[in-house]
Amino acid sequence: MSSSHLSIFPSHKLSHLSSHSSLSSLSSFLPSPLAPTTPRPSTTIHCSLRDLRDRIDSVKNTQKITEAMKLVAAAKVRRAQEAVVSSRPFSETLVEVLYNINTQLQTDDIDVPLTKVRPVRKLALVVVTGDRGLCGGFNNAVLKKAESRIAEIKVLGLDFIVISVGKKGNSYFLRRPYIPVDRFLDLGNLPTTKDAQAIADDVFSLFVSEEVDKVELLYTKFVSLVKSDPVIHTLLPLSPKGEICDINGVCVDAAEDELFRLTTKEGKLTVERETVRTPTPAFSPILQFEQDPVQILDALLPLYLNSQILRALQESLASELAARMSAMSSATDNAIELKKNLSIAYNRQRQAKITGEILEIVAGAEALT
């Protein structure tokens, strides 16, 4: 949907105006969260009335587009979050079951391939990026994190391979042939179980065939609408406790969710937040295993792996949309400000022109008498 908006940009005659002031290029509407934003220089605007009128029109159009993109992103964030919430009962029950089975199995000496900790020689890094731009520093932040992680791995003298998920990441790694990439994957609009399954299958076969000894997942964690962090999780070997930890061993499982709701307030769309806490039911301690514990864990752990990946994909999408929303919101603000400045300049010039004309007429009339 937003791609159709993107195609509108070049059709506006921004290019012939850009010589007048750097402000008219689109990039100046977008905030760049990575670089510290420099205060806008108060440029004086020198151009003819007609050019000014054209620019005001084009800024108006841009503002409409960014405003629309903002609303679209806001609506989509809601959908993305609903997806997270609807998958919640599954992952909650899964973690709970896994935890309980593990406590029962702790005394047994079992060997499950997915939890096997091997000395790391080669590492796989799954990088999750978005499919589209115009979302502030979202994709850049992920790719920067990936670069720094790769540098770290190189310093440690380890081998590595990248699995890239998302169009932006794909084109980034395609331009850098010195980074070995195992696979390029694309996502659809909303991440589905099938997408997660494709990644899980790939990661699973890499790990089980001992091609890699550790799999890390780099994605953007959704913290709130204005904040999201690129984080690195160890995906495999799975921690047998059934919790996801980052590379420092800190548990990053989210216990509570924030939900955002799009509402109207004083005629403007705003976003409300509410916190949802899901209760965890008690678990009966006496359980018989129908099959070997190993078989049961074999059935459970791939499920767990899939649900973790699905969750990461969903969070990454929610972060992307939130980033786009705030980027578009500040772009709209900038457009409004620019429009205001241009209008003032336009009105001044028009006034000056009228005054000049009146003076000429008066002077002419005076000369006649």
Partner: protein
Amino acid sequence: MTLNLCVLTPNRMIWDSKVKEIILSTNSGQIGILPNHAPIATAVDIGLLRIRLNDRWLTVALMGGFARISNNEITILGNGAEISTDIDPQEAQQTLEIAEANLSRAEGKRQAIEANLALRRARTRVEAVKVISY
């Protein structure tokens, strides 16, 4: 005593209500579960899940996973599940044919395993539709 069944997939909840009896295809064969069943945990194979509501039987195509039975509460965690009435018979049949063709073309161990899994999934869906028709 009543039995409560809850079927969960990563996407959504497929089923959450009272049932009379279920038949589950586990890794070690089919088991029937009636109220007051002993608490067990079992791995679930790709296969059919039959649910009895009063005197009506419902079929669900279940794509493998895990089941836990305790205190008349059955929780099934599945990779995917579809109630037979939601499956389009023609589409399922086509998928089965494609899967069969893929298996015959598969090269190497990894491809063969993947094709086999796809075939079993497709076959289960077709079976689920056929059960309802007689």
